[in-house]
C-alpha cells in the first residue's frame, strides 16, 4: 500500500539485531555442527504448517577480485538457473507448482539461498534447495542472460537517488575495502565476468566449512537434522582453506561529493565508519543513534520533520557487518533547503557530543530497543533471518539476552562518551544527490 506515514522500511532493516523471544527460557534455536562443518540451526515453530530454510555461505561480494566486482552477485543469481538435474524453467515450475519459493542472492558478506514451502512439500523443496547449492551448472546461455539483466538493473538503479547516494557513500566510507564497492558491481565490471569466473567462485567459496543452514517452522530438530544430513552430509570442502577478508581500515580524511541530477528533491547522506556488536561501545552507540534519529520521537525527526516540515524521511542508523560497521544519517529535502538540513544534522550531531541525553530520551530509547524484540521475532521468516545473522557475525544464540542487558545498562555519560567518539560532524563523509549546479 502506498503513502505510509513514515518512511520506515530502511530503518527497520538496518537497525539490526533485535533480541530475544521474550520469556524464552529455552534458547531461540538448537545449534549443532555437522561433521563436514555446516552449522545447523533449528527453531521449532509448529503452529503453522510451513517451513523456511536458509543457507548462508560465506561467499559474499567481499570475495570479489578487485577487477571482478559483481562476481558473488552473479554467482548467487545463477544458482537457481540450472542444476545437474533441472533447467531453470524446470526449477521455477517445480517449486511454484506447490506454491513455494526458492531464491538465492549474494550480499556483502555472504550468499544466501532461501526456501519457503508448505510442510507437506518439504522433501521436494529440500531436494531443489540442495541441488542449487551443490550442483549448479551455470549454463552459458543463462550466464549471458543473467549478466544482461543485472546490467539493465544497475542502469535503471541510476534513477533512484537513494541507491545512487548509498553507493557513493559506501565508496567514501570504505575507500580501501571491498565494502566500498557495490555488491552488484558496475555495468562495466559485470560485462567482464565469465562463466569460468562464476564456476571457480562457486567451487572455491561455497563450501560446508563456512556454511550455516537454518531450518525454522513446523519441523522437529531430529527431522531437520535427518533431512539436512541426507542431502548435505556428503558435501566436502575444498582442500585449500577458506578465503579471508581483512577488516576495514580507517578511511582517512572525510570527503564530500555532490552528484548532479535533475530532481526536485535532494538526497543527503552523511556517513562514517563505526563499530560492530563485539565492541562494548556498540550498545551506547545504538542508543545514541536511536535518540538522534531512530524513531518518530527522535531529535532529527522532531526538528527536521515535525517542526521544520523539511523532510518526509530523516533517520540515522548503525549498520554492523562482519568486517566493519558504518553509522549514517540520511534525509531527503527540497533542493533549496539542503544547506539548512545539513546544518541541523550537524548541530544535532554536535549536541550529542556536548551534552548528555535527557533521562526521558534515554528511557524511551531503551524501552523501545528492548521492548520491541518480540515483534522482530514473531514470524518464522524473521526468526530464520535472526539466527543466521547472530551465528554469522559470531554473536552467539544468547545475543538477544545480552543485547537487552547491555542496552539496559547504558547511561547518559556512556552515550555522550560514545557520541564524542563517533558523532563529530567533521568526521563524516557527505554525499548529496540531486543538488542543482552551483
Amino acid at each position: 500500500m502506498m503513502c505510509l506515514r513514515r518512511f520506515c522500511a530502511l530503518v527497520l532493516v538496518l537497525t539490526l539485531l533485535p533480541t530475544t523471544p521474550t520469556a524464552a527460557a529455552k534458547p531461540i534455536a538448537h545449534r549443532e555442527v555437522l561433521p563436514n562443518g555446516i552449522v545447523l540451526l533449528v527453531a521449532e515453530r509448529p503452529a503453522v504448517p510451513i517451513v523456511f530454510v536458509r543457507a548462508f555461505a560465506r561467499a559474499g561480494a567481499v570475495l570479489d577480485p578487485p577487477d571482478r566486482a559483481g562476481l558473488a552477485n552473479l554467482t548467487g543469481a545463477l544458482l537457481t538457473r540450472g542444476t545437474a538435474k533441472h533447467t531453470a524453467p524446470q526449477l521455477d515450475s517445480a517449486i511454484e507448482f506447490v506454491g513455494g519459493s526458492l531464491s538465492a542472492a549474494a550480499g556483502r558478506d555472504g550468499l544466501t539461498a532461501s526456501l519457503a514451502v508448505l510442510k507437506k512439500d518439504l522433501g521436494l523443496g529440500l531436494d531443489l534447495f540442495s541441488e542449487v547449492l551443490l550442483t549448479p551448472t551455470f549454463p552459458a546461455e543463462e550466464v549471458k542472460r543473467k549478466t544482461a539483466q543485472i546490467q539493465a538493473a544497475i542502469k535503471r538503479s541510476e534513477e533512484d537517488p537513494g541507491t545512487v547516494a548509498a553507493r557513493a557513500l559506501a565508496r567514501l566510507v570504505f575507500p580501501n575495502h571491498p565494502y566500498g564497492m557495490p555488491v552488484e558491481g558496475t555495468v562495466e565490471s559485470v560485462g567482464k565476468l565469465t562463466r569460468d569466473d562464476v564456476v571457480r567462485f562457486h567451487e572455491t567459496n561455497v563450501r560446508p566449512d563456512t556454511t550455516i543452514i537454518a531450518v525454522v517452522g513446523a519441523i522437529t530438530v531430529d527431522d531437520a537434522r535427518r533431512e539436512i544430513e541426507a542431502r548435505f552430509g556428503g558435501w566436502k570442502s575444498p582442500a585449500e582453506p577458506p578465503a579471508t577478508t581483512p577488516p576495514a581500515s580507517p578511511s582517512g580524511s572525510p570527503k564530500t561529493e555532490t552528484i548532479q541530477k535533475e530532481l526536485t528533491q535532494a538526497t543527503i547522506m552523511l556517513g562514517r565508519q563505526a563499530i560492530r556488536q563485539t565492541d562494548p561501545d556498540y550498545f551506547p552507540l545504538t542508543v545514541a543513534s536511536y535518540v538522534l534519529g531512530g524513531g518518530s520521537a527522535s531529535r532529527l525527526y522532531s526538528r527536521v520533520r515535525d517542526e521544520g516540515g523539511l523532510a518526509y524521511a530523516v533517520f540515522s542508523y548503525v549498520t554492523p557487518a562482519r568486517y566493519g560497521a558504518s553509522f549514517a544519517v540520511s534525509a531527503q529535502t527540497r533542493t533549496a533547503e539542503v544547506p539548512k538540513v545539513i546544518e541541523i544534522i550537524r548541530e544535532e550531531l554536535t549536541r550529542m557530543t556536548r551534552e548528555p541525553v535527557t533521562e526521558r530520551e534515554l528511557k524511551l530509547a531503551k524501552e523501545y530497543l528492548i521492548g520491541s524484540f518480540p515483534l522482530r521475532l514473531d514470524t518464522s521468516s524473521k526468526v530464520a533471518d535472526f539466527v543466521v545473522a547472530v551465528e554469522e557475525q559470531g554473536l552467539g544464540l544468547d545475543y538477544a539476552d545480552r543485547y537487552k542487558e547491555r542496552v539496559a545498562k547504558v547511561t547518559p555519560a556512556d552515550v555522550q562518551r560514545v557520541a564524542a567518539k563517533y558523532f563529530a560532524p567533521d568526521s563524516f563523509n557527505r554525499v548529496v544527490v540531486g543538488a542543482p549546479k552551483p
Binding site: 520506515c8 511454484e96 530532481l263 523532510a311 515483534l375
Partner: protein, 441 residues
Amino acid sequence: MRPTHTLRLVFVATLLLGLAAGAAAQNSDRVLAATLENGLRVLLQEDHRSPIVSFQMWYRVGSRNETRGTTGIAHFLEHLMFKGTPTHGPGEFARLVEQNGGQDNAFTSQDVTSYYVNIAADRIDLVIDLEADRMHNLRLDPKDIASEREVVIEERRTRTEDDPGGFLGEEVSSIAFKNHPYGAPIIGWMEEIKQITPAQIRAFYKTYYVPNNAILVAVGDFKAPEVLTKIRAKFRRIPKGPPPPPVLAVEPPQNGERRVIVKKHAQLPIVYLGYHVPNRKSPDAFALEMLSTILSEGRASRLYKRLVYERQLALEAGGDYNYFSHDPSLFWFWGTPMPGQTPETMEKALLAEMEALKSEPVTEEELQRARNQVEATFVFQEDSIHRRAGLLARFELIGSYADKDRFVEGLRAVTAADIQRVARTYFADDKKNVGILLPRP
C-alpha cells in the same frame, strides 16, 4: 518495476491470497465480532503464539471520497492523526507507542485509511485509549497543519515527482478515469495539497472519522471477551455520526483508446496498459483475480517466463488486478524494456500476450499452479498476526470477514474457459489506456 499505484494493487492481491489459505489452516472462524451501539465494528481473534497483539483501525475513507480541489485530503489527514489531541500532545502518540516497545504506522489507499500498532499484548489498554482519543478529539492545529503540509509535499516529491514509475502511473490513471475519483492520485495533486485549508480538513475529519465508519481489528495474545469489554468502555462515549455521504461518481464507458507519453529524466522506458474491469460485485472477478496470478506470480508465471526469460525483451513485466476495489478499477499490465528494446516493441509484446489469452485457453498446469499458489500464500500469511488482522479487515470492508472461505472457493472454481472469456470481454483494443515513459537523458 511496478507503478506505485500498481504496487498498491499487487499488495492487496497478495494479502488477499494469504487470507484464503488462512481460512483452511486454523481457528480463522473463531472471530469475536460485535457492533457497538455507535456503529463501531469490532473483530477480535485470539492468537497465543507470541505475547503480542496487532491492533488496527480501518476507516472507510480514502482518495475516492475526495472532491475536486481537495485531492490528497484523506492522506493529509492521516499524517495529522499523529499530531495530537488535548489529552495527548503532538508526538505523544508515537512516543507512547515506542516507549512501550510498539511499532506503528498508517497508510491511505483509494478506498481506506488504516492505522496499526503492533505491541506487547499487555499494553493493549494503552492502544485502545490512544485510538479512541484520536478518533474524536484530534486538535488539527493550524500550525501543525502548515508544517505537515510541507512533509506531505516532500513525500510527493519522493514518490512521484522524482520517481519515473510513480509519475507515469499517475498520468495513466488520470486519463483512464475521466470522472471517477480513482483518476486522482492518492497523495493528491501538488497544487491541491498546497491549497487544502484547515477548515476543509476539520470538516473531512468530522464527516468520516466516526465510529459508524470504522472497523477495529485486533489479533493476538489476549482474551477476546475481556478486550471487547475494554473497547466498549473507551469507544462507547464517541457519538455515532451521520452516515458519510456516498460517492456517486460513475465512470462512463470508454469509447476509444487513450494514450499519454511522458518524457522524463530516466534510464529505461516504461510501458503501462490499463483496462477498465469490474470489481468483486461481478461474477467475472474471480477469473480476473486468477488471471493476475497466472500472469505475474513467480518466475514460472506467463509474462515473466515469456517476456523476461524466453524473449529477453523485458527487465520486468506483469499484470495486476484488485479484487477488493470498492468501485470498478483497472486491470494493469506493465513492462520495462531491456536496454536496446523500444517501448513500441514492449507494448506490442504485451498486446500479443493479451491476444494469446483471448485465442487460447490457459493450460491446466497454469491454472493448477495458480490454485496452489493461492492456497499456499494463504497458509504463509497465517504466520503473521499483523497480516491476519489486515485480512479480516479487508474482507469485512467488502462484506464480511467470514467471506474469505467463499473467496477461496470462488477462485478454485475458475476454469480456463472463464479466463479466456474475461480476456475477450475486457481487453479490447479500443478500450486500452496506454502510458509510455520516454527517458530524457
